[in-house]
């Protein structure tokens, strides 16, 4: 049983370092996608910036002690219409939510499982909100 009062592991002592690295990479990619969409469609900024901020919070929480060098992914291609861009984001959020839910099964520390379930839940809510925006 992990002592809940023990400090979070931050590096090679972290049994979940590999999974953390994958989540940091996924969140960095989502942030890059939001940045690209916001740059192409500034009218969407007010709506999308809070979602982008949530991903930045996810990345910071998962990358405890900044033990992982967060990648800076290349800007992804943005569809030519704002609706198509929102659909692209909704799809990316849905994929991320599914991945985080699956990750819960593979973590070593239960604290991280709990955290990942909340991150995935946020991404599910993003997906739902983006789809409703299109409806």
């Amino acid at each position: 049983m992990v002592d809940p009062n023990a400090p979070d592991p931050t590096g090679s002592d972290d049994p979940d370092l590999e999974l953390r690295t994958a989540v940091v990479t996924a969140e960095a990619k989502l942030i890059a996608t939001y940045d690209a969409v916001i740059a192409t469609f500034p009218d969407l900024a007010d709506q999308l910036k809070p979602f982008r901020a949530h991903h930045a919070a996810h990345l910071a929480a998962v990358n405890i002690g900044q033990a992982i060098a967060a990648p800076t992914p290349a800007a992804p291609a943005v569809p030519s219409s704002s609706n198509a861009a929102l659909r692209q984001l909704a799809k990316a959020e849905g994929a991320a939510a599914t991945a985080r839910e699956a990750d819960c099964l593979h973590v070593s520390r239960w604290q991280f499982a709990r955290e990942l379930s909340l991150i995935g839940a946020c991404e599910s809510a993003h997906q739902s909100l983006l789809i409703r925006e299109l409806a």
Binding site: A57, R114, S117, L118, G120
Partner: protein, 152 residues
């Protein structure tokens, strides 16, 4: 920012009883919420009530399967503020979903610690369902659903 508020990890059985209590509270609250709503919002409340009722029944069944007596629901639950309007009803809807998201997240932790993959998956999906329902009431979400809105 570290996302944890568990002083000690409950057993899956204890976490399931907490989920059952939370689902019962939600079922009760949706009665109050639906009474203040009309049209599409009322339909939504009815749909969410049905989802919580079904979830509550599944959790009860799981406890019985574990040879544990499910805790009964309370006769009534006091809302944290008076539910007298559409806006207070929607606010309560978001709040109870946020609270329940965290209770299910505790079950994720317990189930993972006990290597119970099936329960971990069920619980993680339930956390997401709560966050989605909360977002339907307040049009937004949080980085860690429930952590801020339910503090204090």
């Amino acid at each position: 920012m570290s996302v944890r508020n568990l002083d000690a990890l409950p057993t899956v059985t204890a976490a399931l009883q907490s989920v059952l209590a939370g689902e019962n509270a939600c079922v009760y609250a949706y009665g109050l919420i639906g009474a203040q709503l009309s049209d599409a919002a009322r339909t939504l409340a009815r749909q969410f009530l049905a989802e919580h009722t079904a979830s509550r029944d599944r959790v009860r069944q799981r406890l019985i399967e574990l040879s544990v007596q499910p805790e009964p629901a309370a006769a009534a639950y006091n809302p944290p503020f008076p539910i007298t309007s559409k806006s207070t009803a929607q606010r309560l809807g978001a709040l109870i979903e946020d609270r329940l998201a965290l209770v299910w997240a505790d079950l994720v932790a317990s189930a993972r610690a006990e290597n119970n993959d099936e329960m971990t998956s069920v619980a993680a999906a339930a956390v997401a369902a709560c966050a989605v329902r909360s977002s339907r009431w307040n049009g937004t979400t949080q980085a860690f659903p429930g952590l801020l809105s339910t503090k204090g």
